[in-house]
C-alpha cells in the first residue's frame, strides 16, 4: 500500500537513504536540500491534491542533476509516495536521475540538460503577465555552475529589461563553478536590473526572508550559499 503523508524536515535524511544509485550527484543533491525544503514548507503555494491548479505558484527546478533531495521533499510533502523512493532510477520507477514532469506529480519541468529552466521560466512569466493573473509567483532554481550555460544569461538579460517582477531565481551556490563568479554571481543579475540578496543556504529563516524580499517591480535573485 502506497504511503502518502506529510513528513517533517527531520525525516528527510531517512528518505534520502532510500534514494541510492546516483551517488556521483550526492554533492549536487544535498546542496539543494534546505532551499527545497524552505520553498515547499514556507514559500510555495502548491497543493499535492491539486498539482495542476492554475493559481499555484510555479516552481521550475532547472538544475535537474542530483534530484534525490527534490524527490525526498516531494515525498515529505505528499506529492509522491514514500514507497516510490526506493525504486530510484529503475526501469519501472517514475523517479529518474533527472526528473520527468510527465511522470512525477508536482514537477513543473523535465530537466537534466543545464540552462533550460530559466528561459522557460521567463516564458511562463510572460504568459502569466499577458493573461493577467496576478497571483502565481514563478520561482526557478539553478546552480552556480549551471549559470555557465549562456542560455541563462539570455534569460537574465531579458527578464531584467522587461522588469519581470513575478520571477524569482534561486541560485544554489556550492562553489562548483570551475572559474567562479568574481564579486558574486548576484552581481551579474543586478547589472541587468534584478534585485539580489545572498544568504546562508542552510538557514531556513534567512531563506524565507530572502524569498519574501522580492521587490515586485523587477525580478529577484536569491543566492543561497551552501559551501563547497
Amino acid at each position: 500500500m502506497a504511503t502518502t503523508t506529510t513528513l517533517a524536515y527531520e525525516d528527510l535524511p531517512g528518505l534520502l537513504t532510500l534514494l541510492t544509485g546516483d551517488e556521483k550527484h550526492d554533492r549536487s543533491s544535498f546542496s539543494t536540500l534546505d532551499v527545497l525544503w524552505v520553498l515547499y514548507d514556507r514559500v510555495l503555494r502548491v497543493d499535492p491534491s491539486t498539482p495542476d491548479d492554475p493559481g499555484r505558484d510555479r516552481f521550475l527546478l532547472s538544475k535537474g542533476h542530483g534530484p534525490a533531495a527534490y524527490y525526498a521533499v516531494l515525498a515529505a510533502k505528499g506529492f509522491i509516495s514514500v514507497d516510490a523512493l526506493a525504486g530510484f532510477g529503475n526501469g519501472d520507477s517514475v523517479l529518474g536521475y533527472h526528473p520527468d514532469r510527465l511522470l512525477v506529480p508536482g514537477v513543473e519541468i523535465s530537466s537534466g540538460s543545464l540552462g533550460h529552466g530559466l528561459p522557460i521560466a521567463v516564458g511562463v512569466t510572460l504568459a502569466l503577465d499577458a493573461t493577467g493573473d496576478p497571483g502565481p509567483r514563478v520561482i526557478c532554481l539553478v546552480g552556480d555552475a549551471e549559470l555557465e550555460e549562456g542560455s541563462n544569461f539570455e534569460a537574465v538579460q531579458l527578464a531584467g529589461r522587461l522588469r519581470l517582477g513575478r520571477l524569482t531565481v534561486v541560485v544554489v551556490d556550492n562553489a562548483s563553478s570551475t572559474y567562479g563568479w568574481p564579486g558574486g554571481v548576484e552581481r551579474r543579475f543586478e547589472l541587468e536590473g534584478w534585485s539580489g540578496v545572498r544568504v546562508d543556504g542552510r538557514d531556513h529563516d534567512a531563506l524565507e526572508a530572502a524569498f519574501a524580499g522580492a521587490a515586485g517591480d523587477r525580478p529577484h535573485v536569491v543566492v543561497a550559499e551552501v559551501g563547497s
Binding site: S113, G123, T125
Partner: protein, 310 residues
C-alpha cells in the same frame, strides 16, 4: 504576387487579434513587420531564449508562433527544440524563412538545407513545405488551432498556383505504369517544366511529415519513383522505402547537395547549382530512366551558371 513571408505576417497579425491563445515570439527577425501586441514577444537576438520562452508560453496554454531565419530557428536552438518543446510535451509553431538557399547572397550562415532532416530526427512533428502563399495561410491557420509541434518552411521560390488538397496530390497523370515524380513544395514548378515532354506522373506534396504513405502507394503504378525535395537530398527517402517495403521499386532522390559550395549569388543560381532547376531535374530523371547511373553529387553533375564562376 505577395511573398510567403508577407502572407505569414498578415495572417499571424490577424490571429493575434482574433485568437486569445495565439502568441508570437521573435528574435528581432520580423519584428519590423508586425505591430506591437501584448502577446508579441521580441526577445532580442537570443534564439535559445526564443524557443525556451515559446515553451513557457505553451506551458500556460498559449499557442506560440516562433519565427526567424531557418538556421536561427532550427539549427542554433536545436536542443531547445528537442527538449523545451518535444521532451516537455508542449507544442509550438515554428515558421522559418530563408529555406535552403534564398539567402545565398548572405553565404552559408543564412542557408539551412538540413532543417527538415533535423526535425525529422524528432518525434511528433508536422512539417509543411508550402509552395505558394495560399498554402502558407492554410497551414498557419490550421496550426493555430492545434497544440502539437508544427514546422512551416517558407521560401522565396513559389509555384504558379496553390494546391488546395492535402496529402499526395497527383497533378499530372502519365500512362499506366509510368514513373512517379513527387515534387515537394516549391519544386513543383521546375518539376512540371522538366517533365513536360516525359511520360511520367507528377504528384505534389506540401506536408512531408507525417508522410502520406497511402497516397504514395495509390499514386504509384510502376516501379520507378523520383523524389524532388527543396532541402537536403534524400530527406524523405526512408519514408518512401518504408511505404514501399513490399513493392520492388527504384528511387531517385533529388535535392540539395550535402556540400558547402562556398558561393554567393542568387537563389535561382543555387537552385541550378544543385540541379533543382528544370534543366537539372530533367537531366537527372532522363539519366535515371535510361538506366544510366545517376551522376551523384560531388562530381558537379550540372555546370555552374555563368554568373557563378570559379
Amino acid at each position: 504576387m505577395i511573398t510567403m513571408r508577407q502572407r505569414f505576417y498578415e495572417v499571424v497579425a490577424e490571429l493575434l487579434d482574433s485568437d486569445p491563445r495565439v502568441a508570437v515570439v521573435l528574435a528581432e527577425i520580423g519584428a519590423g513587420e508586425l505591430q506591437p501586441h501584448p502577446r508579441l514577444f521580441n526577445v532580442g537576438i537570443r534564439e535559445q531564449l526564443m524557443v525556451g520562452v515559446a515553451a513557457g508560453l505553451a506551458f500556460e496554454g498559449l499557442r506560440p508562433f516562433v519565427h526567424s531565419y531557418a538556421p536561427f530557428l532550427v539549427e542554433r536552438p536545436f536542443e531547445q527544440v528537442k527538449l523545451d518543446l518535444v521532451h516537455q510535451d508542449v507544442g509550438a509553431v515554428l515558421v522559418s524563412t530563408g529555406a535552403s538557399y534564398d539567402g545565398a547572397r548572405s553565404g552559408r550562415t543564412h542557408q539551412s538545407p538540413g532543417d527538415v532532416a533535423l526535425l525529422r530526427a524528432l518525434p511528433g512533428w508536422t512539417i509543411h513545405v508550402p509552395g505558394h502563399p495560399d498554402e502558407v495561410e492554410r497551414f498557419v491557420r490550421r496550426a493555430a488551432g492545434g497544440d502539437d509541434n508544427v514546422y512551416v518552411r517558407l521560401s522565396e521560390e513559389v509555384n504558379a498556383a496553390g494546391v488546395e488538397a492535402d496529402g499526395m496530390v497527383v497533378v499530372r497523370s502519365g500512362s499506366d505504369g509510368a514513373p512517379l515524380v513527387v515534387a515537394v513544395g516549391p519544386t513543383l514548378a521546375p518539376t512540371l517544366a522538366a517533365t513536360a515532354e516525359l511520360d511520367v506522373s507528377v504528384a505534389y506534396l506540401a506536408t512531408v511529415r507525417p508522410f502520406d504513405a497511402d497516397g504514395l502507394r495509390a499514386a504509384l503504378h510502376g516501379p520507378d519513383v523520383v523524389l524532388v525535395e527543396p532541402y537536403l537530398a534524400g530527406t524523405s527517402a526512408a519514408e518512401i522505402a518504408a511505404a514501399l517495403v513490399d513493392r520492388p521499386h527504384r528511387l531517385l532522390a533529388l535535392g540539395v547537395a550535402n556540400e558547402e559550395f562556398r558561393r554567393y549569388g542568387t537563389g535561382p543560381e543555387h537552385r541550378a547549382l544543385h540541379g533543382l532547376d528544370a534543366a537539372g531535374i530533367r537531366g537527372s530523371i532522363a539519366a535515371f530512366l535510361s538506366d544510366s547511373p545517376h551522376p551523384g553529387w560531388g562530381s558537379t553533375p550540372h555546370p555552374l551558371p555563368a554568373t557563378i564562376s570559379a
